[in-house]
């Protein structure tokens, strides 16, 4: 008991001023929990056959989430083919666990994830594997969010790096000009309008009868948008590498691509790990905007579930559940980036 007291005294009440702040914060947290816990836990309904039970209880209706779980996870993916979607989630988790070991932090990790996302898409679509075809318009829920985010991250990163290199290149003014224009135009436009363009305007420019699935159009929009932001992050990293490193590499007779690939980029990219992962987190969260071109990603599926007339009035539960899922992903990413950075900085040797 006295240990707790000493700890509290030292950490919460070292001086009167800080003590007052501690008391204020603790009471605020207490107040929130005081109101939130009865609703979310004590009075909550965990299992129910229909919404009537929930309505009488007055607490949170987690039975609603349970009822709609498949829809939130998989959207309109056909029930009899659901095992494929489960397998996709399993692959994804496997990828996360594999990436978590610091031994796996090599360039081959990119290949692993590329392989993962390709196999996920093959599995979901099924045609090439001899399974019944499921069109991309039936993909949805968490699975769709994962596909969007993974392809977005895997392809926008190299795209962003190339844009940054193009922008930093002093000797090729035309390429530099093109890269600067792309970056500035895309960064000057909201993501929503880019999505609308990809979904509504792009088909107008294509020959009739030539259809690109909406999913692909959305992914392209995500890649271009996120790539331009990443390009600016990478540019910061490039500027932080000292001029001497360029000169040293050039004077040893390294070609442009070797100078960049072997000397400059490894240093530049590891300097900007945190903002890069920040961009990835934004990308992950921004994928929710595909709702507006009527795709049912995690958020879209949850909202659709909440508007089911048999279960009206449980949107709060849906949003709390979503918040937990999004938080779990983003927190994992940011934790991962901190470990990665620590690892690289302590090694000091790339």
């Amino acid at each position: 008991m006295s240990n707790i007291f000493i700890w509290g005294r030292k950490n919460l009440y070292p001086t009167t001023g800080q003590g007052i702040i501690s008391i204020a914060i603790v009471s605020l947290v207490g107040l929130v929990l005081w109101n939130f816990l009865p609703w979310s836990i004590f009075n909550a309904v965990w299992v129910a056959d229909n919404s009537d039970v929930c309505r009488q209880a007055g607490g949170a209706c987690w039975a609603f989430i349970w009822e709609k779980l498949y829809f939130i996870l998989f959207g309109f993916y056909p029930a009899e083919e659901r095992w494929r979607a489960w397998l996709v989630l399993a692959l994804f988790l496997g990828g996360i666990l594999y990436s978590g070991r610091s031994k796996s932090w090599t360039l081959s990790l990119i290949v692993v994830w590329l392989g993962l996302v390709v196999s996920m898409m093959l599995l979901l679509n099924g045609t090439l594997l001899g399974l019944p075809t499921v069109e991309t318009s039936y993909w949805g829920g968490l699975v769709l969010t994962i596909i969007l985010a993974m392809t977005g991250i895997i392809f926008s990163y190299p795209f962003g790096v190339l844009l940054a290199l193009g922008r930093a290149n002093q000797r090729l003014p035309v390429i530099r000009g093109i890269c600067v224009s792309i970056i500035e135009i895309i960064r000057g436009v909201p993501f929503i309008s880019l999505l609308f363009m990809a979904s509504l305007m792009l088909p107008l420019f294509l020959p009739s009868g030539f259809v690109i699935p909406k999913l692909v159009r959305a992914i392209v929009a995500v890649i271009i948008f996120s790539g331009c932001y990443l390009a600016e992050t990478v540019r910061g990293g490039l500027a932080a590498v000292s001029r001497g490193q360029y000169e040293a590499a050039q004077s040893l007779g390294l070609s442009y691509w070797k100078t960049m690939g072997l000397v400059i980029l490894p240093q530049a990219l590891s300097k900007v790990i945190q903002p890069t992962v920040g961009s990835f987190i934004s990308l992950f969260i921004d994928t929710t905007l595909v709702v507006i071109i009527s795709m049912y990603d995690l958020l879209g599926a949850a909202r659709a579930a909440a508007s089911d007339s048999a279960w009206l009035g449980f949107a709060r539960e849906a949003y709390v559940f979503l918040a937990l899922i999004y938080f779990a992903f983003c927190y994992t990413l940011s934790k991962y980036s901190r470990r990665l950075e620590k690892d690289i900085l302590t090694k000091k040797v790339h």
Partner: protein
């Protein structure tokens, strides 16, 4: 009469009528100069006189800067290296460079020395080991670092880093080493070591050094070229330049009246 377009046994680089521009600004005016083989040639002159620019013309390092233009000719191995067809990466392997601020890579000492060799495709361990030992001995760094070859080069002292950069440059066995104020960031003791090293190196290499330190120039170089505002004012043996210069500007500069 047109100059004879060859380099001979005693000279390794021949610069003829070289003009150089940064955008619209002309930085070098009609430079004519030959660099002697297996000798040390030093470039002196006040800041902004074009000596570093000229040094960077000799291995095309100006290529990385936007809007630069060179005309005239720099003959090396009977090729005009200013031609666009020049294999620049190959040229830089034969004309190495050491910079004012030491710039080792964020790698181990060993990897720094063998970097150029690896890039050129050499991966045999015995060859690399030998190159490391030779280059580090050549820069009298071997005894100081032989027990920590696999530690980061960034842990070395300033003087050691600069000697490591020289070792890295000589590991690929160039013909010429260009040095851009290699001692200006070093203390006197490290400077003495680098100078001693340069005197040893000229057995195998031709060295061009840009320096602000006139004692250094007179201590180590056989030939000295004095530059002023983009023009080569005077070139001669170091002894002549420092004891009996033929131009008043040269005399004013080396006696410290300006610069």
């Amino acid at each position: 009469m047109a100059p004879v377009q060859t380099t001979n046994k005693t000279s390794i680089i021949k610069i003829t009528d070289l003009d150089f521009f940064y955008g619209d600004t002309q930085a070098l005016f009609k430079i004519n100069l030959t660099i002697a083989k297996n000798r040390i040639t030093s470039f002196i002159g006040p800041s902004g006189c074009g000596k570093s620019t000229l040094l960077r013309c000799m291995n095309r390092m100006y290529d990385v800067i936007r809007n630069t233009k060179a005309s005239g000719s720099i003959l090396f191995d009977n090729n005009n290296i200013l031609q666009t067809s020049t294999d620049v990466t190959g040229l830089r392997r034969r004309i190495g460079m050491v910079f004012q601020k030491s710039n080792p890579f964020a790698k181990t000492i060993y990897e720094n020395v063998v970097y150029g060799l690896r890039i050129a495709g050499e991966n045999k361990k015995s060859v690399l080991d030998q190159a490391v030992e030779e280059s580090l001995k050549g820069t009298s760094l071997f005894d100081e670092v032989k027990d920590r070859l696999n530690e980061s080069a960034l842990g070395l002292s300033g003087g050691q880093m600069q000697r490591l950069c020289i070792a890295r440059a000589i590991a690929i066995k160039p013909d010429v080493i260009l040095m851009d104020e290699p001692c200006s960031a070093l203390d006197p003791k490290s400077t003495a070591k680098v100078e001693e090293l340069m005197l040893n190196l000229k057995k195998d290499y031709s060295i061009v050094i840009v320096t602000h330190n006139m004692q250094q120039s007179s201590r180590i170089s056989e030939y000295t070229a004095f530059f002023l505002e983009g023009r080569l004012m005077e070139k001669d043996t170091t002894q002549k330049i420092f004891t009996n210069p033929s131009k008043k500007e040269t005399e004013d500069y080396i006696t410290g009246k300006f610069g």
